[in-house]
Symmetry: C2
Subunit: 256 residues, 2 copies
DNA sequence: CAGTGGTCTAGACCACTAT
DNA sequence: TAGTGGTCTAGACCACTGA
């Protein structure tokens, strides 16, 4: 008796001779069944032995498939009971602004970054404190504006210790990630990072560069990079226009 | 010849008769070695067969251990070459404000939430549009202030369709998550969620409630919950004081 | 070519759950 | 007790890498 809603193992098309691994095909099958609501939250999946014998595959392969779903948070397993479709976690608040460029592109806009300034500076008291370095240490200083369709979106200022005498390459400006800059120009490798997101208002300078009126609300992100010895080696400050930028996060399995 | 830095398989204390699974002990061992910098980014782990024979365990068990590290992003495997310690991803910008209460507690403060108002309203045009319901539908309306050490931190307004006639319980206010409210009071189950984080300035009302001057920059989070048919069933708006709240994100493996 | 990780099998024993 | 998921084994074959 396997009548859980409209779910049926026979709907699965598992090709044992495919180049695509069996466990992957199987995981995708269950994922699809859950997304299409043929398996509803709380319902039980067939048992591992049942699935294995149905497809004539090893139980270990079935387990590999199910563990993918467990990792994705779509099902949970209970020892001695069975495996069940999970309730989507809807109160996870996770904002991801990984692909700044990608996000802009996805909105059909043309991202670009413009270097305003790049120079070697001697660290003043504040910078020395932030980077944990002696006064007057040589540092690389960058100012960058990120635009979408030629409209300024973000303004970034970044500092990193300038130990090597390597020149600053044009290519480094295309995707101005602080960690690659620090890796290239500082003495040591960045291995950990701290980022803080705050709200703020634009200063006079920021307003001019972003083309907004003074005091406009903005996202302010401060990033500090550390080396193996837990010493800061780079520091950056990014201002994102609040009237143009927002973070979006989706939860749940039902996209359509 | 196994002389990768100060790393040595003999340092591992694997108890094959422990209740703790072997793969778990092994994964923790490698994790520790990486965190303690005995294995550095780019360095190779011993091969799977080497590890297996060293401890007298099956290669599958070794693979299970390593797959934990791969999932954690600490190592990556290359077919035909070997398994290597990864570079920490430092430009992932992932902000997580899951445990609002926990975060406040961790700072040694006393979190609390106070119900300002809870009533049944008839949906006006705007709310009807947001929730995709007819005009004048009965909705549950909440207003909550979250405080830390009696200082207001956030102000939340939440709406959900009020289909059942269940009374509003006091306990529902302790951890006022929109999804549990919607599950309890609307007709259907929330299965997906959209959250948008923006910056804004306080209105007159918000300023009074949060005890800040008008126009103070704030985080503004809007959450919409959807049911299985992709219809919105709840809507909430949260204002976080920008002068008291910030989002922090750490990357990398080296905590100390 | 030998060595690596990726997949898969057909068993096994265990702890746990429900009856 | 019977059935479940969790762990583990000792093999196997494959595709890929580098010399």
């Amino acid at each position: 008796m396997s009548e859980q809603g409209s779910f049926n193992l026979d709907q699965a098309e598992i090709d044992k001779n495919s180049v695509i691994p069996i466990y992957y095909q199987l995981a995708k099958f269950f994922e699809k069944q859950i997304r299409q609501r043929n398996l509803l939250p709380g319902e039980a999946l067939p048992t591992e032995t049942e699935i294995a014998s149905h497809f004539g595959i090893s139980r270990m392969t079935v387990r590999r498939a199910i563990s993918e779903l467990v990792a994705a948070g779509m099902v949970y397993a209970q020892k001695g009971k069975g495996t069940f479709v999970a309730m989507p976690k809807l109160d996870n608040i996770v904002f991801d602004l990984n692909n700044f460029y990608e996000e802009i592109k996805q909105k059909g806009m043309k991202p670009n970054s413009k270097l305003l300034e790049a120079k070697i500076v001697r660290s003043d008291e504040l910078l020395s404190k932030r980077l944990g370095i002696p006064l007057n240490t040589r540092c690389l200083f960058f100012r960058i504006v990120i635009t979408a369709n030629d409209e300024p979106l973000a303004y970034e200022r970044k500092y990193t210790v300038y130990a090597k005498q390597k020149p600053i390459l044009e290519s480094e400006l295309k995707d101005p990630s602080l960690s690659s800059l620090a890796a290239a120009h500082s003495d040591s490798l960045p291995v950990s990072s701290k980022k803080v997101l705050m709200v703020s208002r634009t200063t006079e300078e920021e307003s001019l560069i972003l083309g907004v009126s003074r005091g406009t609300p903005v996202f302010l992100m401060v990033q500090t990079l550390y080396d193996l010895e837990r010493k800061p080696i780079a520091w950056g400050l990014s201002i994102f226009r609040g009237d143009r930028y927002k973070l979006t996060s989706y939860d749940g399995w039902y996209d359509e």
